[in-house]
C-alpha cells in the first residue's frame, strides 16, 4: 500500500504482514516510514492506494472495531499534564478497556514508586512519563500491540523489563509489532524483522 501524509508519500508500495502471537520488529532509520506504518495499522491514517486488513477488518471503515483490538504506544505521551499518574490511569481505565490493576502492576515492574504515581504528570521525567504510557498500552486487553520507538527514553533495566513483558504477551498469543532504529536487543526477541527504507519494507531472513 501507499500512504500519503499531506501529499508526502510516507509509505510507498509497502507490503507488510504479521501473524498471531509473533513479535515483529520493524527496523529502519528516521523518516523511513516506521511510525506511519504503525499509525496505518491503528487506523489513524488512511491508505491512498492498496489495502489494509487488521484481523480481517479494514481500519478505514471499521475504525472503532479495529481500535478496540489494538494498543498503540506512541511517541506522544497521550496523558493529561495536570492529573497525577494514578488519576490518568484511572481515567483511562474508566473510558478505555484498560485494566487499572494490571496498569499499576506494570508501573511497579517498571520501577515507579507510589510517590511517582501521586505527583502531577508534568513533574515526571521523560523516562517516567514513557513508563506510564507503556503501562497503559500493555494493560489493555487487546490482540495487537503497536510499540513505537520505546527504547529511546528508557534506561537499561526498564528496556529489559519491557522486552520481557512484550515476550510474555506474545507467548500468551498476542501479536506485537515494535518499531525502532535500535538493532541489537529486539532482534533477539523478534520472530521476524522488516527493514524499512524510504517508505518500503523488506523482510529480512527469519530467525
Amino acid at each position: 500500500m501507499t500512504v500519503l501524509l499531506d501529499r508526502f508519500p510516507a509509505l510507498v508500495r509497502c507490503d507488510f504482514d504479521a501473524y498471531e502471537g509473533e513479535v515483529v520488529f520493524v527496523q529502519g532509520p528516521n523518516g523511513s516510514g516506521k511510525t506511519t506504518l504503525l499509525r496505518l495499522l491503528g487506523g489513524l491514517v488512511e491508505a491512498f492506494a492498496g489495502s489494509v486488513l487488521v484481523f480481517g477488518r479494514d481500519p478505514k471503515t471499521e475504525a472503532r472495531a479495529v481500535r478496540r483490538e489494538v494498543s498503540y504506544l506512541a511517541h506522544s505521551y497521550q496523558m493529561y499534564e495536570e492529573l497525577s499518574g494514578r488519576e490518568n490511569l484511572s481515567f483511562f481505565s474508566a473510558t478505555a478497556s484498560c485494566d487499572l490493576e494490571r496498569a499499576l502492576e506494570w508501573t511497579r515492574r517498571f520501577g515507579l514508586i507510589d510517590r511517582d504515581l501521586d505527583v502531577r504528570f508534568r513533574v515526571l521525567s521523560a523516562g517516567q512519563r514513557k513508563k506510564m504510557s507503556a503501562a497503559i498500552a500493555l494493560s489493555r486487553r487487546t490482540e495487537l500491540l503497536l510499540i513505537d520507538e520505546p527504547h529511546a527514553l528508557l534506561d537499561q533495566a526498564t528496556k529489559a523489563t519491557l522486552d520481557r513483558g512484550l515476550l510474555e504477551l506474545a507467548q500468551a498469543g498476542r501479536t506485537v509489532i515494535i518499531a525502532s532504529h535500535e538493532l541489537d536487543r529486539i532482534a533477539t526477541l523478534a520472530s521476524r524483522t522488516y527493514r524499512m527504507s524510504n517508505g518500503t519494507a523488506t523482510l529480512m531472513g527469519s530467525s
Binding site: 491503528g42 489513524l44 475504525a63 472503532r64 472495531a65 481500535r67 478496540r68 489494538v70 494498543s71 498503540y72 506512541a74 506522544s76 505521551y77 497521550q78 496523558m79 493529561y80 499534564e81 495536570e82 492529573l83 488519576e87 481515567f91 483511562f92 474508566a94 473510558t95 478505555a96 478497556s97 484498560c98 502531577r120 489493555r140
Partner: protein
C-alpha cells in the same frame, strides 16, 4: 457511554480546578468586557440598565467561547485525544462529558458575572430561578455547537472559532437575551414563548452534536 461521560466530565472539572484558567483568565477578561461596555455607553446607568440582558449574553458568549476553546485545548496537549480515539473510546460519551464540564464551569462564571452586572449596572435581579434555568439551557445550546466547531477548527488559527460559532448560536443568544429581558422586568408571561424557543434550539444542537461528534474526531 454514561460511564465515559462521567469520567470525562470529572476529569475536565478536576483539570480546570487545578489549572484555574477560568478563574484566573476568563473571569477577569469577562469583567474587562463589562467595563468596556460601560465606557461605550458613557457609563449612563439608565442605558446600561436597559441593555443589561444583551450585555450579559454578549459577555457570556465571549466567556463560553474561551471555555470551549480551553476544553478542547486540554485534549490537544500530549495528543491525549489521539490516545482516546486510538483506544476506541465512545465519542458520544466524550462529547457529553465535555459539554457537561463546560456548562458547569460556565454556570459558575455566569453566577459571578450576573452579580457583578447587577451591582455595576445597578440592575436588580428578579426571577432568579428563571434566569438561572434559561442560562443553563442556553449554555447547553452554545456549548454543544461550540465543542463540535472547536473540534472542526482544532489546531487551526484561534479566530476561526468565534467566526464560525457566533452566527450559528445567534438564535440561542437572542432567545436567552429575550428571556432575561422579560425575566428582569418581571413580565413572566412574555418570557414563556422565548423559553420554549430556547429549549427547542438547544435540543436541536444537542442532538446534532451527539450525532456528528464521532465524525469530528475522525477528522
Amino acid at each position: 457511554m454514561v460511564r465515559t461521560a462521567i469520567a470525562m466530565a470529572k476529569k475536565d472539572l478536576r483539570l480546570e480546578w487545578r489549572a484555574r484558567v477560568l478563574i484566573n483568565q476568563v473571569l477577569p477578561f469577562v469583567f474587562v468586557v463589562i467595563i468596556l461596555f460601560a465606557f461605550g455607553f458613557d457609563a449612563k446607568v439608565e442605558i446600561l440598565g436597559q441593555v443589561t440582558p444583551g450585555l450579559f449574553w454578549v459577555t457570556s458568549f465571549f466567556g463560553l467561547e474561551l471555555a470551549i476553546a480551553r476544553s478542547v485545548g486540554i485534549e490537544g496537549e500530549n495528543q491525549a485525544q489521539v490516545g482516546l480515539v486510538m483506544m476506541g473510546v465512545n465519542p458520544r460519551g466524550m462529547f457529553l462529558g465535555k459539554v457537561f464540564a463546560v456548562v458547569v464551569e460556565m454556570l459558575a462564571l455566569e453566577a459571578v458575572l450576573s452579580v457583578g452586572i447587577a451591582v455595576l449596572f445597578n440592575t436588580p435581579l428578579h426571577e432568579v430561578p428563571l434566569l438561572a434555568l434559561s442560562a443553563l439551557i442556553a449554555d447547553i445550546g452554545v456549548t454543544t455547537v461550540g465543542i463540535v466547531l472547536a473540534g472542526v477548527t482544532e489546531g487551526l488559527s484561534g479566530s476561526l472559532l468565534p467566526l464560525l460559532l457566533f452566527p450559528v448560536v445567534s438564535p440561542v443568544l437572542l432567545s436567552a437575551t429575550k428571556v432575561w429581558q422579560y425575566g428582569l422586568s418581571g413580565s413572566l408571561a412574555k418570557a414563556v414563548p422565548w423559553s420554549e424557543l430556547l429549549v427547542g434550539f438547544s435540543l436541536i444542537y444537542l442532538v446534532l452534536g451527539i450525532l456528528v461528534y464521532g465524525v469530528v474526531l475522525e477528522g
